[in-house]
Structures are given as C-alpha cells and as structure tokens.
C-alpha cells in the first residue's frame, strides 16, 4: 500500500479477465431451502436416535454450543472483517455470569440465606445467588455486549493485523484475570475462584419444565439447538440488511464507505457487540452444561479453535461456519480422543493423539489459507476477495491513505 499521490497517475482499473478458479456452482434457491430445512429437521430430531445420557449426545450438544460461538465470531470476522483473536473473552464473561448468578459462589450473600429468583428444585434451597437461567442469559448478553464494545473501541482506528493483536491481548488479559482473580477481592467477595473454578453450577431451569439433570442430556441438546436457531436467524437477517451491507462496505474499503455515509465507529461496534453477545449466551450455557466455570478453559487456543471453525467453513458463509464448527468439534471431542487415539499405539508409536489436536488445528489453518482460503462452503464475496485480492486493490488508490498506519 504505497499510495503516493505524487506517483504517476494510475491507469484506469483494468477490466478483470476470466476467473482463475471456477466458482462453486450455486444450487437453485429451492434446493437450498430444502436442504437447509432437512438439515434443521434432522438436527432437531437427532437426540431421539441417541442414548439420552451417552457420549454422542454429549458431544453433539457441545458441538451446538460451539456453532453458536462460531456464528457469533462470524459476525465479527466474517461479516465485518475484523480479525478477532480474543473471542475466548466472551466465552469467559458469559460463563462467569452463569457462575456469579447460578452457583454457591457468593455463598455469604443475604446472610447466608442466598438470593433466589424464579428458580425451583435444589437451587432454591442453596445459599448464594440463584437466578433463573433465562435471566442469566439476559445478563450474559448485556455483559458481553458491553465487553465487546469496550474491547472493540480502542481497535477502531487500527488496521487489520493490529486489531488482531489487540483483541488477542484483551483475551489474554481476561484469561489471566480469570486464573488469578482469587487474589482480587472487594465487596466481601473474590473476583473469581482462580484455578479452582466455580463448581457446581446450577442446572438450567426453564419455566414449566423440571430442572435439567446430568442424566438426561436431551433437554440440554434442545436448548442448545434453539440457541443455534436463534443465532442462525440473526446471521441471516443481518447479512441481508442495511447493517450487513455497511459491514461489507467497511471491510472492502473503509475510506469509500465512510465517504458514502457509513459511520465507521458505530457500525464496527455493532459487529463486536452482536458477535460478543453470542459468545456470552453460549458461555452461560456451557457454564451450566459443564457444571463448572473452569479458569483454565479461557486460553488463546480456544479463540483459535473457534476461529478455525469459521475459516474452515468459509469466512462469512453462514452454513459453512455451521459445518466447520460441527466438523471441528467432532474432530476435537470425538474423533481424536475416542476413535483415532489408539492408532499411534497400534502402529507402534508412543504418544497420545489428543496431544496433537492443536497441531492438527494449526495445520488445518495453514492448509486452508494456502489451498482454499475461502473455506469449504465459500461465501461468494469472500471468495472473490481472497482469490483476487480485491480488498487490497480497492485500498490501493491514491486518493486517501487507508486508516492509520503504525
């Protein structure tokens, strides 16, 4: 990007030649709708075919929770083009919201009597704060949206790769605070339980239903499934909206976008906020589902795990991200530990395959970037940008320098 106004006048933009790579054939609209409906229906009735307490439904539920996060991250990275390497922060904040308001964590509150709002069963008897799960989700959304905007705010004037590092740093700071938060006290309570984590955590308790149990996982699955439907709906609606267009415009050429009336700050913050909210929802769910808010979960590698889902599926491609998330979470939680793990032993090697999982994800990222940066199910625009570098071309003009350079 050496836009120098004194340089010789650029020749008019050449008309582009034929594409280097054929584009993925696009199914007719009706076929796509049919396929999507079938996938959703299959997803909805899947638990009926699985043992209600078995490992498969456990993994499937986890996969759905990851789909929610991946689609949330997709709004930030895929739609708005803001490379966020610290998404784990929102997982953490969502999970801690669950821990704060649905466990024994504040054990002395209200003179040891506890505070209970719309909870039944065991939770209603325990000390500590216990709010209804839906209330907690609302709180998690509020907390993560605010956090998303706070984290986003300082990155707004930075260029892409600096945004990545600043978000990474924020993610690490949140992770450190989670691990060492037991040293920070105030208002008669610790900030976190440190490495011990917060456990046990209240089970989900929905109106008109019995509190969930660890024995029957089907209700958990369906709750996660509803979350997926919600985030899918939001993704689709936003993609084809005024806001969605503004995101693409900013991503492709910020100078042109602001000159056409798109407010950069507000538009980007909305991406951070909405994307973060889904991290929070999923985080709250996982806090309850895993029955623990474990500070050691909130590491950089988790951010990359979710990012890899988005990239594998296809940046900005909604169904692609769903597929990427399901694929990676099954590779991580089922294929590697349960299926392939004894392969090395069988061929006479002595190591644990689970140790390799992050190397495998790293490898995936490299391979995808080099061979198929647009992902398995590419989104049309992203495919163009990634294959032909249109994004860069647009910014190359000498009218104005792109956003602040370091």
């Amino acid at each position: 990007m050496t836009g120098d106004a004194a340089a010789p006048r650029r020749a008019p933009a050449p008309v582009r030649g034929p594409r280097t790579r054929p584009r993925a054939p696009k199914l007719p609209r009706r076929a796509r709708v049919g396929l999507a409906a079938a996938a959703l229906l299959g997803g909805a009735i899947l638990p009926l075919f699985l043992a209600s307490g078995g490992g498969l439904i456990e993994d499937a539920t986890l996969a759905l929770a990851y789909v929610v996060m991946a689609l949330g991250l997709n709004i930030i990275v895929g739609f708005a083009g803001l490379l966020d390497l610290g998404y784990v922060a929102f997982f953490a904040i969502g999970a801690y919201t669950m821990g704060y308001f649905g466990s024994l964590f504040h054990i002395n509150v209200n003179g040891g009597e506890g505070i209970h709002v719309l909870v039944s069963g065991v939770a209603a008897e325990l000390p500590g704060i216990h709010l209804n799960f839906l209330l907690i989700v609302v709180l998690a959304i509020i907390a993560t949206t605010i956090a998303g905007m706070l984290i986003g705010l300082p990155t707004l004037r930075l260029r892409g790769d600096y945004i990545a590092i600043v978000t990474l740093a924020f993610g690490e700071i949140v992770g450190r605070i989670a691990i060492n938060g037991d040293e920070i006290t105030g208002f008669g309570t610790k900030l976190t339980n440190g490495r011990q984590g917060i456990t046990p955590v209240d089970k989900i308790d929905l109106p008109f239903l019995d509190p969930f149990t660890a024995l029957n996982l089907r209700p958990w699955y369906w709750v996660a499934f509803v979350m997926v439907l919600l985030v899918l709906f939001v993704n689709f609606r936003l993609r084809d909206s005024r806001l969605g267009r503004a995101w693409i415009a900013l991503r492709e050429d910020e100078v042109a976008a602001v000159s056409m009336g798109v407010p950069a700050v507000k538009t980007k913050l909305l991406a951070y906020g909405t994307g973060a909210a889904f991290g929070g929802i999923s985080g709250a769910f996982l806090g309850s589902y895993l029955n623990t808010v474990n500070a050691d979960q909130f590491q950089f590698s988790f951010s990359i795990f979710i990012l890899a889902m988005v990239i594998l599926g296809g940046l900005g491609s909604i169904w692609g991200v769903v597929v990427g998330a399901i694929a990676l979470s099954f590779i991580n939680n089922y294929l590697i530990p349960d299926v392939l793990n004894n392969v090395p032993a069988r061929i006479g090697l002595d190591f644990d395959l689970t140790q390799l999982s992050f190397g495998i994800f790293g490898f995936l990222l490299v391979i995808m970037m080099v061979l198929r940066p647009e992902g398995l199910i590419p989104e049309r625009r992203r495919q163009l940008e990634l294959q032909e570098g249109i994004e860069d071309l647009a910014v190359d003009g000498d009218d104005v320098q792109p956003a602040v350079r370091p």
């Binding site: 050496t2 083009g81 490379l83 390497l85 300082p154 990155t155 004037r157 930075l158 260029r159 892409g160 790769d161 600096y162 990545a164 590092i165 600043v166 990474l168 740093a169 924020f170 690490e172 700071i173 450190r176 605070i177 691990i179 060492n180 040293e183 950089f300 590698s301 990359i304 990012l307 990239i311 190591f351 140790q355 390799l356 992050f358 190397g359 495998i360 994800f361 790293g362 490898f363 995936l364 990222l365 490299v366 970037m369 080099v370 940066p373 940008e385 990634l386 570098g389 994004e391 860069d392 104005v400 320098q401 792109p402 956003a403 602040v404 350079r405 370091p406």
Partner: protein, 353 residues
C-alpha cells in the same frame, strides 16, 4: 504523531499543548511510572536503590533476549508487513535445539572453560541455523503463496504455524517446564557493583546480544543484501524495478530474523535453565510488544523496546507477582497500539485525516 509539528505552528491553546506533550512524551512517562514509583518506595523503606538496581539489571539481561526476538519481528514486519506470529515458536525451537545439542556434544556443568566456550559457540551456530532455516521454510510454505492476498490470510497461516510448532515442542519435551543442565552456573554472582549483583547469566545475555545487534546493524547498513532489504522495506515495487530480487531479499530477512531468534533461544535456555513448549507463545507476544513499543520496522527501536519490556517484566515479577506479568505486558501492548502505534522511535507516518 504527525500533528506534533502542526500544532507548533498554531496558536497554543492549553488543551493542544497538553495533547502535543502527551503525544511526544506520554509513552515515556507511562514507561517511567513503575520504576519511579518503586524507586521512591525503596528509598523510603530501605534507604537505597539496590533492589531497584537489581531489578533493572535482571530486566536488561532478560530484555536483551527479547530484543533479539523483537528484531526478527521488526525486520519481517518492515519488509512484508506481516506479524510473523510463529516467530516466538521459532525462538522456542531454537531453545530446544540448543538444550538438546548440549547433551549431544557432551557439555556438562563440569566441562572446563575453554571446552565450554567452544561447545557453546558451536551450539549457538547450530541453534541459529535451526531457527533460521525453520523460519525460512515457514515463509516458503505458508507466507509466500499468500503474498497479495488480503492481510488476514498470512496472519491466520502464521497463527496456524505457531500452533504446529508448539505441538512439535510438546511432543519433543512434554507438557511441563523442563529443567536443563545449568552449564554456566547462571545465578552465580560474578561481581557486585553498588549493591547490584551481576551474575554469569547477565553477562552471557549481554555478551551474546551486543555483538549480534552490532553485526546486524552493520549488515543492514553496509552490505548489498542489507541495502536491498531496506529498499524493499520502503517500496517493494520500486525495489523490483531497480533490479533487486525481492523474493531472495524476503527470504534473507526471514533467515536472519530466525537466526537471531535461535541465538535468543540458546541464551534463554542458559539463562533460565528451563525450557518449555509454551515459552514461545509468551516470548512472541512480549517481543512483539517490544517491537511495537520501539516503533515497528525500526531495529534500534526493537532493541530499546526489548530492554524496556524486560525491565517492566522484571519489576512486575519481583514486586507484583509473576502471575500478573503477562497481563501487565499485554496492557502495555494495548495502550501503545491504541495511543501510539508508531512507538518510541517509529517514523512519523502520513496522516490519514
């Protein structure tokens, strides 16, 4: 940043003066907060500054290791505008190679001084070659095919490579911190100057860093390749027109950056006497912070940044608690990137409006 010179020309409204001052000296003030605060604290409680002095010295020797790593970041960023996220892990592999090589050539704590020096020089060479060629290979495999793609693509590939290398480290030496043979008796005091204890480790870190940085500076300013690197960093297209082979130049940059990381890896292993597969991730971010702090693309800046970060880290380890050090370093990273992305010595950039 660029407004500093403009504001001088204008009527000096107080707010503007404050802003110009912060712009110029804000970062320096920020960096001075911790040392000054603890210095005053020491003077009041202990009556002298020897504790702070020790912090400073330890910080400088630690920082000189970061400086070597930071140069690699800065060189690469200067030339291809890529945050080589795998660089920290290249450093880690350098450490591992060195730690493994000690055993191979039979260095032990009992080896005599001449043998030790010869052996360490050999190890240095091996570590530098290993890290250098690794970095070169990464560029070939993962970054070169992505030149011209949107910036996000090589960055993601770099993150991917970082994970691969961490995994290699994990398989190589397991998941926990591993003590290695303390060849130089790292913590042993060599001399005591005004209450500041200079250890073998400090001496080594400085003895490795200074010559390498000097050699590096000479190389960049005097040799053909060094000049080609500078030209390419300024304007790759113009460099190509002038007959510079840009690909070779970029490869050389990665090679050199990797070699410095290898040297840092050896020094780290000798100085800390432990190695760990995760050391690269932290070191990478610390060194990147250093590079940005100094002004990315600027070698002197990277060295300065490395030394400063080393001191911050040491003070934080010693006074606040090492579990908080990463958070503190990252907080500095965020503050600098947001408020002064051009760093301490960074060139003033064109204004974007």
């Amino acid at each position: 940043m660029a407004s500093a010179s403009l504001t001088g020309a204008r009527a000096a409204a107080p707010a503007r003066v404050v802003r110009a001052f912060l712009d110029k000296y804000g970062l320096i003030c920020l960096l001075l907060v911790m040392p000054v605060a603890f210095g005053i604290h020491d003077l009041r409680t202990e009556g002298d500054l020897s504790r702070l002095g020790n912090n400073l010295l330890d910080g400088l020797s630690n920082g000189s290791i970061w400086a070597l790593v930071a140069i690699g970041y800065t060189l690469v960023y200067g030339i291809v505008e890529l945050i080589n996220f795998a660089h920290g892990d290249v450093f880690m592999i350098g450490s591992f190679t060195a730690a493994g090589f000690f055993g191979t050539i039979g260095l032990t704590a009992a080896t005599g001084v001449p043998g030790l020096i010869a052996g360490l020089l050999l190890t240095l060479l091996v570590a530098m070659l290993a890290s250098g060629s690794l970095n070169l290979m990464i560029e070939r495999v993962a970054y070169r095919p992505l030149r011209g793609a949107p910036r996000l693509a090589p960055l993601v590939a770099a993150v991917g490579f970082s994970f691969i290398l961490q995994n290699v480290g994990l398989l190589w030496r397991g998941g926990s911190q591993q003590g290695i043979v303390d060849l130089i008796n790292s913590q042993k005091e060599l001399v005591m100057i005004a209450g500041v204890s200079v250890t073998h480790g400090d001496t080594l870190a400085i003895a490795v860093t200074i010559p390498l940085v000097l050699a590096m500076t000479l190389f960049i300013s005097r040799t053909r390749l060094g000049k080609a690197m500078r030209a390419t960093a300024q304007d790759p297209d113009a460099a190509r027109l002038m007959g510079i082979n840009v690909d070779t130049t970029i490869s050389a940059t990665f090679l050199i950056g990797g070699m410095l990381a290898g040297a840092a890896g050896l020094t780290y292993a000798l100085y800390q006497t432990t190695v760990w597969y995760f050391q690269g991730f932290t070191a990478g971010l610390i060194a990147f912070t250093a590079a940005v702090m100094g002004g990315i693309g600027n070698i002197r800046g990277a060295v300065l940044g490395g030394l400063i970060i080393g001191v911050i880290q040491q003070i934080s380890d010693n006074r606040i608690g090492s579990q908080w050090t990463p958070a503190i370093v990252f907080a500095f990273l965020v503050l600098i990137m947001v408020f002064k992305p051009s760093g301490l010595l960074g060139e003033e950039t064109r204004e974007a409006g």
